[in-house]
Assembly symmetry: C2
Homo-oligomer: 124 residues x 2
């Protein structure tokens, strides 16, 4: 769980770009999270991040959705503002990851529901 010393709990900037604005853990609201997951495309996004991302964050394009860019921006923003994903700017790309620890802390079991979900129909 922790590294060798207690001081290791002080996280250094870690060289990562800072996350885009997002709700803090204690600001996460179940109703907002549910609302964000009420959309099939957004469920696909989260599920794909959970099942197929190998420890890397992924840009919008990685998902391969055949949708206008402005639509994708809309959905990724919805996920970020509900607290489901964290986004960081890497040069041109804005990469996303699921806020696993935060979600597990506030809503244990939620992530498993998304993992187990099967889309009704391929949505692209």
């Amino acid at each position: 769980m922790s590294t060798s010393t207690a001081l290791a709990d002080i996280r250094l900037p870690d060289d990562l770009p800072p996350p885009l604005p997002e709700p803090a853990v204690d600001e996460l609201r179940l109703e907002a999270v549910m609302g964000a997951l009420a959309d099939p495309l957004r469920l696909i996004i989260i599920r794909k991040l959970l099942l197929e991302s190998e420890a890397y964050d992924h840009s919008c394009g990685w998902f391969g959705f055949d949708r206008p860019k402005s639509s994708l921006t809309h959905h990724f923003k919805a996920l970020r503002e509900a607290g489901l994903i964290r986004q960081r700017q890497y040069g041109l790309e804005r990469r996303s990851r699921v806020r696993l620890e935060d979600l597990d802390a506030r809503f244990p079991g939620l992530i498993d529901l998304v993992k187990a979900w099967e889309p009704a129909a391929p949505i692209a």
Copy 2:
């Protein structure tokens, strides 16, 4: 878990009024369930049924919401059509219960999320 004989597993009509139209277990959709739970009032309904109902089904009025009746009809219907509650007509009243077994079977862990939820503000 079971009663004395195997034949007891054949459930007799049980003298209950038939449930209003509802999706079958295998028709339950996570996105629909999430959508139904994205509303604070509907979360309150489910949570109150989970925590305060002593093995009885409860009518609309039992909840004590200060809202027009047509609004309550709307929300109870939304919950029923998403598969979260089962409703039966008892004379004048239409009593509701959470579809616990069905939800546990399809979305294990979901109910616990609602149980643990705390409303941001009293909604009435």
